[in-house]
């Protein structure tokens, strides 16, 4: 079963990501912020990462930058799920190594479809 990491400081958003993707047949692991997320990525292999941008301890951009440096994560798809829609923020995400961007709230069917497309 393909593994997905959901990183968000909002418990309800994590719950909804997990609910949506688990019903689509994925194993979903949750992390409460960037630091927690990085720890989990380092400890195990994930096929897809979905992260918030603004989080305590370590934000989404820092997390992506750190993940890209980990062995085996250079091409792992990473999606930013955030309330931010500013172009500068998106650019920062892209430069850090994000694969895509989605402004909250996400469309459940679309998230599943993107996960299916990005996870090989």
């Amino acid at each position: 079963m393909k593994r997905i990491l959901s990183v968000d400081d909002s418990a309800s958003v994590r719950q909804m990501v997990t609910f949506t993707l688990r019903n689509a047949g994925y194993e979903v692991v949750e992390a409460v912020d960037g630091k927690d997320g990085l720890g989990k990525v380092s400890a195990g292999k994930f096929d897809f990462v979905i992260t918030d941008l603004n989080m305590p301890n370590m934000d989404g951009i820092q997390l992506i930058t750190a993940i890209r440096k980990l062995p085996g994560y250079a091409f792992t798809p990473i999606l930013m799920l955030t309330t931010e829609s500013q172009v500068e923020k998106k650019d920062a995400g892209r430069k850090a190594g994000a694969t895509g961007w989605i402004v909250k709230p996400f469309n459940a069917a679309q998230l599943i479809s993107v996960a299916q497309k990005l996870i090989r």
């Binding site: 309800s12 909804m16 019903n23 829609s85 909250k104 709230p105 469309n107 459940a108 679309q110």
Partner: protein, 579 residues
């Protein structure tokens, strides 16, 4: 009322921040509980849909889809079966009435033939007297007399036999005619009743089976609707996170204002400018809080509505699909039994009609034989007539009496010929009737019931498929019932979830009231504050911390004195932008 000092403003904002922090904590735990409830509900709904989906799959199987056409064929065959019998019965009555009339005509024929036979017998006697009178001269005539005597005996015998058979047949035919005449209206009523019952049965079956065939479409629409509702709840629950961030930004703004208010200003001008900035900040936060109020109302109501719709699946037709399948199967079974009963009744009538019209073949044979014999007699009488005339001519003047006899034989021959012709015509008519009746009787034969029997067999096959599906649906129904009960137990929680969230955000009202009062007091105490701030500076101050376009729009509206932007929340969810 005393003028608001900077310290007082800071204290009020401190308390408001405290309230907002409490609200954020409270709403976080409540939204988590709503999300949990939603997950439970969605899982149960998914179970119901999976169970119903399995039933729908079996309903969509090729063999089951053919049940309706099979039942329709059965209905058409059954109706045709009874209609043909009704028409045939009417035809048979008409044939029996025709036969009765023809038998009367035949009686007249036999009576006339009996008369001719009597005349021939008398003539034989005269011929014998004349043969005796002529002595040796009448030897040739003697042979004629002998032939005539034999004819006379045969004719008498045949005519008597036929008359006896006709007379014997007459009461049977009359009884049949009377019986059919009196029973036909009853039979017609019976067949009409059977037809009505069949019509009712077929209409009930058709509507039931059509309802069943619509179930998959209905199910798919329901699945689509539920998926949409679930997606909307997923979006609405996420909207809480946006609201939470917006609240955090208001708290951060309060903290910023409070820290600045508590800082001692170097000059009166600087203090006045700071008061204006504080006023502008409060104005922005009031707008943000009003926007939060409107947004929260939208998504809490969305959560409640969608969850109620999801909950309703347990009471919907989709959850009730099993009883529908079971009811249809029972209906088809009972209707098939009923149609078989009706057919059985119809076969009973067929048997009675078969018995009634049977037995006519012997008579037909006899009439046929008699007609053939009559034709032969006609021929021989004609020859006899010619021979008697030749014999009379040969005898010359002594044969006046023989001439008379010859003339009588000729007259008898002519009369017999006429009677035979009439007999032939009547015979032809009787044969026509027999043919007509035989055609009608085909309907009452076993072959006549074959199409109905085939349709019944096909329907039984379809019924067996339906029974298998019904048995499966019954097992699924039990599980659906258990899940449904679980969902019903959740209904109270679903109803409360929206209320609890709204109650949590109710604290926004009191904070808003406090801040609005504070802003009003500042306008009264320091009228210059309304004009003393720089819009661009304030925009710069707040916009960096805002994460959504809505927050920025609300801030601009507040600073430019425009109406509050309408909180337009999309619950369709946003799409992914891939880099």
């Amino acid at each position: 009322m005393a003028k608001q000092s900077s310290g007082n403003v800071a204290d009020v904002l401190d308390r408001a921040t405290g309230k907002l922090q409490m609200l954020a904590r409270d709403s976080e735990s409540r939204i988590a509980s709503v999300a949990k409830g939603f997950e439970g509900l969605a899982t149960q709904t998914d179970k119901i849909l999976s169970l119903a989906s399995a039933i729908v799959d079996s309903l969509e199987s090729e063999s089951l889809r053919s049940v309706l056409p099979k039942v329709q064929t059965l209905g058409t065959s059954a109706r045709l079966f009874f209609e043909e019998r009704l028409n045939a019965t009417t035809g048979i009555l008409s044939a029996v009435e025709g036969e009765s009339k023809l038998l009367r005509q035949f009686s007249q024929v036999t009576r006339r033939q009996a008369g001719i036979a009597l005349k021939t017998s008398v003539l034989t006697m005269f011929t014998n007297i004349e043969v005796g009178r002529l002595g040796s001269e009448g030897t040739g005539f003697q042979h004629l007399a002998q032939t005539l005597s034999e004819f006379s005996k045969t004719l008498t015998q045949d005519t008597e036999d036929l008359a006896r058979h006709i007379e014997g047949r007459k009461p049977a035919i009359e009884a049949t005619r009377r019986s059919l005449s009196s029973e036909l209206p009853g039979l017609q009523e019976e067949f009409a009743r059977i037809d009505i019952h069949l019509g009712d049965d077929m209409a009930a079956l058709q509507s039931g089976l059509v309802q069943l065939s619509e179930a998959p479409v209905q199910f798919r629409a329901c699945v689509e609707n539920i998926a949409q509702q679930i997606a909307q709840v997923v979006s609405a629950i996420q909207a809480h996170d946006i609201t939470r961030q917006q609240l955090e930004h208001v708290q951060e703004a309060f903290d910023l204002i409070t820290s600045k208010m508590r800082r001692p200003e170097k000059s009166k001008t600087a203090a006045a400018q700071e008061l204006s900035r504080t006023y502008a900040s409060l104005k922005v936060q009031i707008y943000q809080l009003q926007n939060i109020q409107a947004t929260v109302r939208t998504w809490t109501s969305q959560i409640r509505t969608c969850m109620e719709v999801i909950l309703n699946v347990s009471a919907s037709d989709v959850a009730g699909i099993s009883p529908l399948v079971l009811a249809r199967e029972q209906e088809v079974s009972s209707k098939l039994v009923h149609i078989e009963q009706l057919e059985h009744e119809g076969q009973g009538y067929s048997e009675r009609i078969r018995q009634t019209v049977g037995g006519r073949s012997t008579l037909m044979l006899l009439v046929g034989e008699h007609t053939e014999k009559s034709k032969l007699v006609r021929h021989r009488l004609h020859l006899l007539s010619l021979n008697s005339i030749i014999e009379a001519s040969r005898l010359g003047s002594q044969a006046d009496a023989v001439f008379e006899i010859a003339k009588s034989i000729s007259d008898i021959s002519i009369e017999w010929g006429k009677v035979t012709e009439q007999s032939e015509v009547t015979m032809g008519e009787i044969l026509g009737l027999v043919e007509q009746t035989s055609g009608l009787m085909e309907i009452f034969s076993d072959a006549g019931a074959e199409p109905l029997g085939e349709a019944q067999a096909q329907t039984r096959i379809g019924l067996a498929e339906l029974q298998t599906t019904a048995a499966f649906a019954a097992r699924q129904a039990h599980e659906i019932q258990i899940v449904t009960e679980g969902m019903q137990a959740m209904s109270a929680g679903v109803g409360n979830s929206g209320n609890l969230l709204e109650a949590a955000y109710g604290h926004v009202d009191s904070v808003l009231k406090t801040i609005e009062d504070l802003k009003l007091q500042m306008e009264l105490d320091y009228p210059h504050v309304k004009r003393g701030f720089n819009i661009a500076e304030m925009e710069h101050l707040f916009s960096s911390s805002y994460t959504t376009e809505m927050e920025r729009d609300v801030m601009r509206a507040a600073l430019h004195g425009m109406p509050l932007p309408v909180a337009q929340q999309s619950f369709e969810g946003n799409t992914v932008e891939l880099f």
